[in-house]
């Protein structure tokens, strides 16, 4: 009926020592980004290519989004590929390179000096991604299990490498002209291979495994996931080609439609998983994560409007483009991280603190290691801050932007409070 192997190798998870530095770093980066946002809130509506805006975007994209995803993925890759993480040393290397590279890069943007320090920052980030890719590839080869989620993650990591390389090229292009046009002209390629290729592809690959798992859902549809994979990658490759080799704005609707279709299919996947769940009660962290799936549609709507306006008139609508960037980094990516942190971190900390006590006495539940009340207030502050900031950009209201930025700072303070509470947890017996 079943075969036993006698081994317990498949219980060996990634060490907390590898994962926790990424979580801690990301939490601090989020706090710094919201502090900078508070001081730059009123300038943010003028243009997206401004030193402070570039600095905030890169802290959010790299320090917050990427560091958190890298940390979580070192923990979750074994679950997704059904094999052990190849090397802890490569994971530490990936963290160290990024941890040094990100502040160098962000500082360069903030003071608008694209010189040696900033370039070194970019190179270190590329080294970090290469270390992650090698670790991922070696883990996948060793595991020998082929599944759609592993393809999502590996391809997403390749897109991250491409994003970092293009970013470095754009940096060099500031001081020494390497490309036919100025760096600003290539910004959409750099931004979209990062947003769609790295963040969207990875979130969908991991989410399509974790959402049904956490909901204990009967739903699974690998074919639909392959369609999503094809639509995103096809859409992104066609975008790069159309953007670099044609002048047609209307052709951009092709990749837009492909990516929009992939989001609709992913939304459908999550909805069916939700409908067919065995566990009826959905916790707050899961609700925030599911909300972020809905929030994926917002940038698509903005992009439709931006491209339509570009077709009608060549002049860019700056406030729409800034709103588009804001709802991606402070909306969708932040929402999924706020939810998923408290779905994963309590278990990592529980394993660190109580692992040796398992079965020897009553221990607290992982869900009780952080404050649910603080989580609730954080969610309220976040939703209010997000909606108000979006309205503030669209309606050019400095006072609304300032209040919204203060609410987002409060969000990050409450988030950090709970993360610190988790990281400092000492064993208690019940």
């Amino acid at each position: 009926m079943f075969s036993t192997t006698g081994n317990t190798e498949a219980t060996k998870t990634t060490s907390w020592k590898v994962v926790l530095p990424f979580y801690g770093y990301a939490a601090i980066a989020f706090l710094i980004a919201t502090i900078l946002l508070l001081f730059s809130a009123s300038d943010i509506t003028s243009h997206y290519f401004l030193p402070h805006t570039l600095a905030i975007i890169h802290i959010m994209a790299l320090g917050w989004g990427t560091m958190m995803i890298l940390g979580a993925s070192h923990q979750l890759v074994p679950v997704l590929i059904e094999g052990k993480l190849y090397s802890n040393k490569l994971a530490y290397a990936s963290f160290t390179f990024a941890a040094i590279g990100i502040p160098l890069l962000v500082n360069g943007f903030y003071v608008f000096n694209m010189g040696l320090h900033t370039q070194c920052g970019g190179i270190l980030i590329i080294l970090s991604v290469i270390a992650y890719l090698i670790n991922l590839a070696a883990s996948m080869v060793k595991s020998k299990q082929e599944n759609v989620h592993a393809f999502f993650i590996f391809t997403a990591a390749l897109w991250l490498l491409a994003t970092a390389i293009v970013g470095l090229l754009l940096l060099y292009n500031f001081t020494e002209p390497l490309l036919p046009k100025g760096s600003l002209n290539y910004l959409p390629v750099h931004a979209h291979i990062g947003i769609v290729g790295w963040f969207l592809l990875l979130v969908m690959g991991v989410g399509s495994r974790l959402i049904p798992l956490f909901l204990i859902s009967k739903y699974n549809n690998t074919r639909q996931l392959w369609w999503i994979y094809g639509l995103i990658n096809g859409g992104l490759l066609s975008f790069v080609y159309i953007f670099l080799y044609t002048d047609s704005k209307s052709l951009l609707s092709i990749p837009l439609l492909a990516v929009a279709a992939s989001i609709v299919l992913f939304g459908d996947f999550c909805f069916k998983a939700y409908q067919q769940r065995i566990r009826k009660k959905v916790d707050e962290q899961m609700k925030v994560s599911l909300l972020s799936v809905l929030m994926m549609l917002l940038p698509v709507i903005f992009l439709v409007i931006i491209i339509t306006l570009l077709i009608l008139s060549p002049k860019e609508n700056v406030s729409l483009i800034i709103t588009y960037g804001f709802i991606i980094f402070f909306g969708w990516i932040t929402a999924i991280i706020l939810g998923m942190t408290f779905k994963t971190l309590p278990f990592i900390v529980w394993n660190k603190v109580y692992h040796h006590l398992a079965g020897k006495g009553k221990t607290p539940n992982p869900k009780d290691l952080f404050s649910k009340k603080v989580f609730k207030w954080m969610s309220v502050a976040y939703i209010l801050g997000f909606v108000m900031f979006t309205a503030g950009i669209l309606f050019y209201s400095a006072i609304v932007l300032q209040i919204a930025a203060a609410l987002l700072l409060l969000t990050s303070l409450l988030y950090n409070w709970n993360v610190i509470k988790l990281l400092m947890h000492k064993p208690v017996s019940l």
Binding site: T4, T8, A10, T11, K12, G359
Partner: protein, 109 residues
């Protein structure tokens, strides 16, 4: 109660009851009703308990804690025996393995 293969004797009933104290911390349901325990065998000559079990997913972050808790709970109920875990993913765990009581619990949660 469950689909666990046992020798159908008192020892196995006690062992199953002991394993009902081991919870999956994410789901909040015990591993017997969750369907993680496949088979229990007592070897009287070797004084060993063999527990064939699975996890909801391979490399589950809580896997080692769950298997440790299984060993500890069996040791507590049968101090003279040594517990050995046979971890298998063939067949892999699926929601169909959850017992009726487990389903009711998850419905109420």
């Amino acid at each position: 109660m469950t689909n666990v293969i046992t020798n159908d004797n008192l020892q196995c009933t006690v062992a199953l009851a002991a394993l009902q104290n081991v919870m999956d911390p994410e789901i909040g349901l015990n591993i017997v009703d969750l369907g993680l325990v496949y088979q229990l065998d007592f070897d009287e000559s070797e004084k060993k308990i063999y527990c064939a079990m699975t996890l909801t997913t391979q490399f589950c972050p809580m896997g080692e804690s769950i298997t440790n808790a299984v060993k500890e709970n069996l040791k507590l109920s049968f101090p003279e025996y040594e517990a050995e875990i046979d971890l298998t993913f063939d067949p892999p765990w699926s929601h169909e393995m959850i017992s009726e009581e487990g389903r009711e619990f998850l419905n109420e949660q």
